[in-house]
Amino acid sequence: MTDRQIMTGDEIRRAIIRISHEIVEKQAGTEGLALVGIQRRGVPLAQRIAAAIEEHEGVRPPVGALDITFYRDDLSLVAQQPIVKGTDLPFDLNGATVVLIDDVLYTGRTIRCAMDALIDFGRPRAIRLAVLIDRGHRELPIRADHVGKNVPTSREEIVHVHVAEMDGTDEVAIARQAGDDTDRR
């Protein structure tokens, strides 16, 4: 299993800055914006994007964390990953433009769950999606509004996103591994 690096720490930093600009551009400002990171690695990414927006706009949008564990359509994962990481949405969703943030967009099922979850908390005005990596192979009609990098992959590959807050380093790598596809996002 050899890892192939596809994004360095600097590339990630630049992508995040670009995405933060795109988000503000699409919203024509920061009014009504709220960032929601999907557990687990979407959360530190959301924090970084919020910090970047604050850097160039002077305003920091509210950041929440969303755990989609209870919204998954595949309970067989419970046995292996039963731990729940927590949902915290410290703002009113009603009428907000929520930008969901995740590290990798793959089949789209995670995003569908995330939308279901969000709607249980309130009625956002709009939901957008920003991801660091789009690796293709969508199984649902879901599209990201903002993408850090498009990376064509095969189904046998796994995309590893490392963020300093959790993994000590910033990096995106691809590993080739045969076997189960439990990481189907």
């Binding site: 924090q47 509210p62 950041v63 419970v78 046995a79 039963p82 731990i83 990481k85 959790m166």
Partner: protein, 351 residues
């Protein structure tokens, strides 16, 4: 609950460093607490905490068990527990069917095995059972291809009650750690499945457990305590059995009262309920001998004036209503863990 709004990386890291991150849930049934390891119990506690979070939301529902069929099969009448289980199942978006045996074909003499086979043919996936004969859910587990959750069997076990009791206690002791904390259970221990399951869970938690009641209602428990002397059972400490209620309650952190049934008087085990209340009832005077911050618990329903005095039941120490709401969270946690425990091969699962 997580507190990440505006927080830095440090908090995220701490949360992610949860010690039992790698505990997997592999039990197909929950029949008693005795086979659960401590990490598994902690997993249930943490999952219940998340479920508690869901109960605090405006929409108290998640689709985790969407389309799954949960059937309650209660051979013993019990509205409270049954409604608690049903609520838990509905909060997870499961479809719930309830069999009230008084009106079902069980009264026509249908055997337990036949009833379960019929329910399975009707699509039941998770069976929540309460039965008056000890061991009945083990028979169910043998003939049912789905999941069995024991809602109480005879005198033997009531795992969800013990778990919600543990959950409640942890919320009221410093650090949520019961090690060394004195917990006393007073009442008809002999006939109590709540007591038996609590013995397993509280000794696993390292609590200083005392069982107390009149000698006729403690029969056999001393033998059990003696067998566990010296920490012989791996993962479970010893416990005390005594009729001396003053010694049992002294400096206790938790006082749990068990229901005394009128039948005990009639079968010659107690002279009268009045005498029980006088000698063993949890009244204000007795409770004052416990720690100042001690809580009072009761699995319900309460016989106020017998095992627990009305003023104690209503006092600030009483956490009985918390036990009830924690019960829903614990039951949601167990249903969630059970539903995901079988690699998706549960028959009829919506996929």
């Amino acid at each position: 609950m997580s507190a990440q709004a505006g927080a830095g990386a440090a908090q995220a890291a701490r949360k992610d460093a949860a010690p039992t991150q790698d505990v997997a849930w592999h039990h197909r049934h929950v029949l008693d607490v005795d086979v659960l390891t401590w990490p598994e119990i902690e997993l249930i506690m943490r999952t219940a905490e998340e479920m508690g979070g869901i109960l605090a939301r405006p929409i108290r529902k998640v689709p985790a068990l969407n389309g799954r069929r949960v059937t309650t099969l209660f051979y013993e009448a019990s509205t409270r527990t049954r409604v608690s289980f049903e609520t838990a199942a509905r909060n997870l978006s499961a479809d719930v069917v309830s069999i009230a045996t008084a009106t079902s074909s069980v009264t026509k003499g249908e055997s337990l095995v036949d009833t379960i086979r019929t329910l399975e043919a009707l699509g039941a996936e998770i069976l929540i059972m309460r039965h008056s004969v000890s061991g009945a859910p083990y028979l169910a587990a043998q003939v049912f291809s789905g999941h069995v959750l024991n809602g109480g069997d005879g005198w033997h076990a009531h795992p969800t009650q013990a778990l919600l009791d543990l959950y409640t206690m942890r919320q009221h002791v410093p650090g949520g750690d019961l090690r060394g904390r004195k917990v006393v259970i007073v009442g008809d221990v002999l006939h109590s499945r709540v007591a038996r399951s609590n013995i397993w869970s509280l000794t696993a938690a390292g609590a200083d457990l005392w069982l107390c009641g009149p000698a006729t209602l403690l029969r056999g428990l001393d033998r059990w305590a003696a067998a566990w002397e010296g920490g012989k059972v791996p993962g479970h400490g010893r416990f005390h059995v005594t009729s001396d209620v003053a010694a049992a309650i002294r400096d206790a952190d938790v006082v749990m009262a068990l229901r005394i049934q009128r039948e005990r008087m009639q079968s010659g085990l107690l002279p009268s309920l009045r005498e029980y209340a006088a000698r063993f009832g949890i009244n204000a005077e007795r409770v004052s001998r416990a720690r100042p911050e001690a809580i009072v618990m009761h699995p319900g329903p309460m016989n106020e004036g017998v095992e627990i005095a009305p003023d104690v039941a209503a006092s600030g120490r009483s956490v009985v209503t918390e036990q009830v709401s924690n019960g829903v969270a614990i039951r949601m946690a167990l249903l969630y863990l059970l539903a995901g425990s079988h690699d998706g091969t549960v028959p009829g699962a919506a996929r």
